[in-house]
Amino acid sequence: MFVYAVILSSQGIHADSQFQASNSKISLVTESLTLTENDELLVGIKFELEEGWHTYWENPGDAGEGASVNWSLSNGFEASEILWPGPHRIPVEPLMTFGYNDEVILLTKISSLKNASFPLNIKANVGWYTCKDICIPQEGEVSLVINKGDILLTEESEEIDEYLSTVPVDFEQLYRIERLDDKFFLQTDIGEGDHYQDVYFFPKAYGLTAYSDDQNYEKNLNSFILEINASKAQLKFDAFEGVIEASNNEETSYFNISYPLEVEKVENNQSIILLLLFAFIGGLILNIMPCVFPILSIKILRFMDHSENSSTKTYKFGLYYSFGVILSFLVIALVLLLLKSSGESIGWGFQLQYPIVISVLFYLFIALGFMFMSNLVFGGQLGQLSSVARVNNESLESFLTGILAVVVASPCTAPFMGSAIGFALLQPGINSIFIFLSLGIGFALPYFILSVKPSLLAFLPKPGAWMETFKQFMAFPMWGSALWLLWVLSGQVDSDTVVVVLIGGLFISLALWLLEKNTSEIKWVKWLVRLVALAFVIFSVLIIPTSYSEKDTQSQEELVYSEVLLEQYRNSQDIIFLNFTADWCITCKVNERVALKTRAVKDIIKQKNIKYLEADWTRKDGDIAQKLEEFGRTGVPLYLLYPSRGEPIILPEILTEDTLVRYLTEIN
C-alpha cells in the first residue's frame, strides 16, 4: 500500500480530474468539494471501461493484477487504503479471475488532521490493467482541489454511496470453517435471518482455495453451508480469509470472513523413544535366533584363537564387527526410505489412518508369527555364504562377518526385520533410520561386549533346542501386534469388513502352511501347490478394504429409526438422540465428522446409555418426512434430544463437539 503525503511544490497545477486511456477512462470523484479539519471525505478512482473489458480485484485470481494508487496530498491529510467493492467472477477458461466489468469506483477515505492546510490538492497516480482476452497496462494521473468548508454532497456522492454499500463489512453471523480432507466447509448460523439464494467465497490470497472449481452451496432451515475445494498449492495459512458474496433476489451483499485455521499438531516423540527401545531389544534377541547364534559362537572362538597368536586386541575385532552390522542396517533403512518415497510419489500413503495399510500390516504380522512358529524359511541358501567371510586380514574379516551376520541370518531374522520395517514405514524418514540404527546397535552389542571381555564367554549358554522354543515363543508378540492392528481397523470399518480381513489372515496362514508342507519331489505337484498358495495370497490382498466403511457406526451404538422403536424407548424412559440425516446433506456429513462421531461424544453416549437413533432420509422416506413435519421441518438435518421424561430438545443445526457434549451431559 502506498500512502504519500507530500506538499505540492507548485500551486499552479491544472487540476484535471479525468484521464482518458486507450480503452478506459479514469476520473477522480469525491462526495464533496469542501471539507473542514478533523473530518473525513470519501473520494474514489472511477474506472469506466469499454464494453467487454474488465479490471481486477485486490486478489485478481489466476491472472491479472489489481489497480494501485499513489496519493499525493497536501500537508495535514492522510489517505486510507483502498476500500475494494465486492468483486465478480470473471472466468477465462480454464482459469478464474476476480474483478469488475465495465465500471467500478475504488474508494479511499481522506482524513483531515487538526493542522490541515487548505486548499487540499489531491493527486493520484494510478496504474491499472484493463483486460478482455488480452491485457493492457495503463497509467494515468488525476487531480482535484478541495476547499475549506462544510461537507456539501456532490452529484457523484450517490454513485460513491452505491459502491460503498458493496464494500465488504464484517460478517455478523456465527460461522466456522472446517477443513475435512481437501475441502473447506463454511458453516453459518443465520438464525431467523433471511436466506441467501447463493453464496460464493473469494479468497484473499493465493494458495488457499481452488479458484476455478465450483463451490457447493446448501441451505438449511436456519443455517447454510458452503463447500469449497482447497487449493492444490497447499500453502500454510493461519487464517481462512476472504470475502463472501451473498445474493438475495436482486441484492448482493459482501462480507469479510476471517477464521483461524488449526495448525497441524506436532508429532509427539514419546512413542519414538519406546520404538527405539523395542528396536534395541529386538536387536539383542536377534543374537539368539537359531541361525545366528551358532555362527556367532564359531566366529567368536575363531577370533579368540587369532588374538592369542597375534598382538591385536580382540576388542578391535568387536569394533569392526559392530561397524559391519550397523552399516548393513543403515543400508537396509536407506533402501526402505527410498522405496517409501517412491511409493509416496506415486500416491501411496503409509499411515495408520488408511484401512488398506492396516490390513496389509495385519497380514504381515500374521505371516511373521507363522514363520516364527513353523520351520518355514525363505532364502535358506543365504546360510551357505557364511564361509565367504574368511579372508586373511582379520580386521576386514570382522567387518565382513558383521555384514554377513545380517545377510546370512536373514532367513530367520526376516520376521524381525519385517516387523521393524512395518513400524518404520509408519514413521517419518529420519525416525526409521534411528529405528534401524537402534536395531543394529542391539544386534552388535553382545558380540562387542564379549570381544572386550572374552572371559564372559564361559557364561554363554550352549546353542540347542531351547533356541527353537524361544523362536516359537516370539510368534506371540507378532500375533499380539496383529491383534492391536485389528483393533485399530475396527474403529475405521464395520464389523463385517473386520471379519473379511480376518478371513484374509486365515488364507495367508493357509498359504504359508501349504508352502511349509510342500516337500513333494514331483516338480509339477510342487509348482501346483505353490500356485495355490499364491492364489490364496492374491485372494487375501484383493479382499482388503480400500476405504472407510460408509456404515461406520452401524456396529456400534447406532440404531435405525422407526416410530415403533422410538415409542418403545420413550416408554422405557431412555434418553434418546435422534439424528435426521441424508447422504446428500453436506451439513449432516460435516456435523457427523466434527461432532457426532468424535470419541468424546461416542463415550458419553455409551456412558449414559443414550439410545442413538438415525433416521436416514437419503431416499425421502414417508414416515421420516412425517416426523420432520411434526417439528416444522421439510428437510434435514434435524437433531432431537429426548430426555427420559418430557418434550424433546431441538439441537442447533451446526454442531460442535463441545456443544454436543454439553447437551448430552446435561440431559436427564
Partner: protein, 204 residues
C-alpha cells in the same frame, strides 16, 4: 546414482501406467514432447541429469514484456546458462490469440530480445500448459537433475499491485535464488509462490 536408478525404476515396475493429473512439488515432473522453433522434437526427459527451468511466455503480455524490456528475464536466462541448466520457454497461446507465433517469429523474438533460452517450445493446443497447470505468463518451474519438480510460481516477488511501478532488478528473483539453494544442496525456501501475469491464452 543408485538412488537415481531406484526412483526411476520403481514406478515403472509397479505402476507402469501412472497417470499424472497435475504437478506436485517434490514429485516427478511429467514428461512431454514438443516441437521447438527449429522444428525439432524436444522431450523433457532428454535433459535428465541437468537442472531445467521452464518459462511460460507470451510476448504480447505486458507482464512478460516488462521482464524482457528491463532485461530481467534475459539476466535470469544468463544465470541459468552459467550453471549449465536448461531453459525451456513454452508458448501455449492458441492460434489467433495473443502471443501465438510461428517458428520463424519465435526465432526472431529470441534474436531481437537478446534472449538465450535453450529451446523455445510451441504448445499451441495447450496440452503441456494444462498438464503443468500453467496459469500465467510468466509462470516458472524448476526441475532438478533427477526430474523432480522443485519450484513453481512467479519469477520474482515483484507481483502484486503496483507491479508496473516496481524496479524488477531490485526484486527478489525466485529462480536465481532457487537455483542457488539447489546448488548448495538445500531445499528451496518457498517452493510454491503465486504466479502473476496475464492469463495463458488457451484455446477455448
Amino acid at each position: 546414482m543408485k538412488k537415481n536408478l531406484f526412483i526411476h525404476l520403481l514406478p515403472i515396475l509397479f505402476f507402469a501406467e501412472v497417470c499424472y493429473s497435475y504437478v506436485e512439488i517434490d514429485t516427478k515432473a511429467p514428461d512431454f514432447t514438443l516441437s521447438n522453433s527449429f522444428g525439432e522434437e524436444i522431450s523433457l526427459s532428454e535433459f535428465s541429469g541437468k537442472k531445467i527451468i521452464i518459462e511460460w511466455t507470451n510476448h504480447g503480455c505486458p507482464f512478460v514484456a516488462k521482464h524482457y524490456k528491463t532485461g530481467n528475464m534475459q539476466s535470469t536466462q544468463k544465470f541459468s546458462e552459467e550453471i549449465n541448466a536448461v531453459w525451456l520457454s513454452i508458448i501455449s497461446s492458441a492460434p489467433g490469440t495473443q502471443g501465438y507465433v510461428t517458428p520463424l517469429e519465435a526465432n526472431e523474438l529470441t534474436l531481437t530480445r537478446s534472449a538465450s533460452p535453450s529451446h523455445v517450445l510451441l504448445d499451441s493446443d495447450g496440452t503441456v500448459g494444462k498438464m503443468y497447470e500453467a496459469k500465467t505468463t510468466p509462470h516458472m518451474y524448476i526441475i532438478d537433475e533427477e526430474g523432480i519438480l522443485k519450484y513453481q510460481g512467479a519469477i520474482d516477488d515483484a507481483g502484486g499491485r503496483g507491479f508496473m511501478f516496481k524496479d524488477l532488478l531490485k526484486a527478489k528473483n525466485y529462480i536465481k535464488n532457487g537455483l542457488l539453494e539447489l546448488n548448495k544442496g538445500d531445499e528451496i525456501t518457498s517452493p510454491i509462490t503465486k504466479p502473476y501475469g496475464c492469463s495463458v491464452k488457451y484455446a477455448s
